[in-house]
Symmetry: C2
Subunit: 198 residues, 2 copies
């Protein structure tokens, strides 16, 4: 259990870096959380289910993806330590999820259920500020990704991704990196061959 308490410290650091919380509020926040461990390939959410929680990643590495009619996977997000992951649309509207979330490694997350989050937001209004800030930053990051998708080639997107997350090609299978970039694994392989020459 000693590492479990570390995880709660971790998420509290994450919160208090953005907002001020009293000891009591911190406690109440932690009480609303559930610690959950996943094995590699275990699902946190499946397409079709209703997403009931937001998950803060304490340890490990997850991937969210959409499976289309042809059965092809498209990676929307990956989430590492100190990140949140969910299917936002499904969470907000309590509709069927269109994304799967799966562990890529042994994972530990702290989950907060939607209705508990809603309660907390009423009890501790400053948490509205926390999620407002979180979503503003997420929005800005997604905006940058959209620009990459419309403005540059797959090869450039791969180069930028590596620059941003230098070790990602060791941590995530290339076929998932390809689907994140919006290209095929075959084409990514060709890109990598070319880049070795430089």
């Amino acid at each position: 259990m000693s590492d479990a308490s570390n995880y709660y410290e971790m998420i509290l650091d994450h919160l208090t870096a953005r907002i001020n919380l009293t000891e009591e509020e911190q406690q109440r926040f932690c009480d609303a959380l559930t610690l959950r461990r996943l094995l590699p390939k275990q699902y946190l959410l499946q397409q079709g289910d209703i997403c009931r929680h937001e998950s803060y990643v304490c340890k490990g590495f997850l991937r969210s993806f959409y499976v289309d009619d042809q059965g092809d996977e498209h990676t929307l997000h990956f989430a590492m330590e100190d990140w949140w992951i969910t299917d936002l649309r499904s969470l907000i509207r309590q509709e069927a999820a269109t994304r799967n979330i799966v562990a890529m490694e042994p994972v530990t997350v702290l989950q907060i259920e939607k209705h508990k989050r809603d309660e907390l937001l009423k009890e501790i209004p400053v948490l509205e500020r926390f999620w407002r800030i979180l979503n503003e930053n997420a929005c800005a990051a997604q905006d940058e990704r959209i620009l990459d998708n419309i403005a540059i080639t797959g090869a450039e997107r791969y180069a930028r991704l590596l620059k941003k997350y230098p070790s990602i090609d060791q941590r995530m299978p290339l076929k998932h990196i390809a689907s994140y970039l919006g290209i095929t694994p075959v084409f990514l392989s060709q890109i990598r061959k070319k880049q070795l020459k430089n």
Copy 2:
């Protein structure tokens, strides 16, 4: 001035549809706003400047875009009545903007300056909730757009855009629609020719 008061009613409806505000809070919010009118092709923000405000569109139609090294434009967003537009990254961090925002038609916006927004957020904490909700929805929408960009072809993206905004091809020049979709105007023209046959 009669239409100006309409615009304040409009933004108050927009707010009170999401949060509850007292009369006094509504007044304080409106006092923080500045009404601004733009002619077509007039800029609300230019790449390189620091973005100091968030703008709520009362009337007209705007476009935000990035100009790359080769001088090519890439349309990130367009904003219609009842939408907000800004360069979020530049606004949050008060860094040089990487996006331009320009009026496509005669435009009326209600602007709130960053520092005034920050003050308001302290004075009226429930506004944190408002922007949290706004950003959550924006995030979910951007997520969908990223999926479109990585999962489907330009032709399909155009079809979906038309389905979502049926009159957009009458309101926005095709070359900007093309840049929004991440394709060239020439290719969009070919897509349109094919779709007429069906």
